[in-house]
Amino acid sequence: MAERNSPLGGATDRLAAVAAATGGAVTVAEVPFLTQIGVRALPSTSTAVDVNVLQLGPDEWLIVGPPGLSAASADSSAVDVSAQRTTVAMGGSRVLDLLAMGCAIDLHPRVFRVGDCAQTTMAHAPVIIWRRETGFWILVRASFAAHLADWIVDAAQEFTAGD
């Protein structure tokens, strides 16, 4: 099979360098090729391991799972949007400060808990922010991914280790 290219495939090293430069205060990496399926009615069957359902609106959900799932496994209202967005995983002790530089919503753990997700904007780009046990996943539309990655790398200068 031909090689696939993820939106931030060319930025892997630059993103990895953020953790080194900040002494781990901010970590960032792409999680490419996830399966993402937009659905307008929740599938009745129980979901498999590591498949999550993000509620985006009163009748709109996004199923997020590991690469290679089939949209047909959801239901007839399912739209495969796996390539529509890529995923940026972020963590580190200063990740909340970095996110607060570009995201206007309140991500304090009292307000935005593990498992919560929100559609909003980050660095002026439309995103879905999802808090996981290990940090944040930011689902960003593929065309905005390079902009967001540049923005994050630039913002992370504020957290350079040793300052």
Partner: protein, 80 residues
Amino acid sequence: MMLIPCPWCGPRDESEFHYGGQAGVAYPAEPDALSDSEWAKYLFFRENPKGPFRERWSHSAGCRRWFSLVRDTVTNEVLR
């Protein structure tokens, strides 16, 4: 920066929303039954009150749902 209560996502900054103008201006059931001036009224004429105003908003950067609220156009308070 107003804080607008999205019924689904909760309060968000107004920059996440698109404004939809006066609420309750329905598309006429029978456009052909309207005179030109009645049709023009539907197209172009809207209230512009000083005080409470029922208006539409769309949470365009969030859930993309449309909803109506009443805002005081003097104070920007969302009344309901």
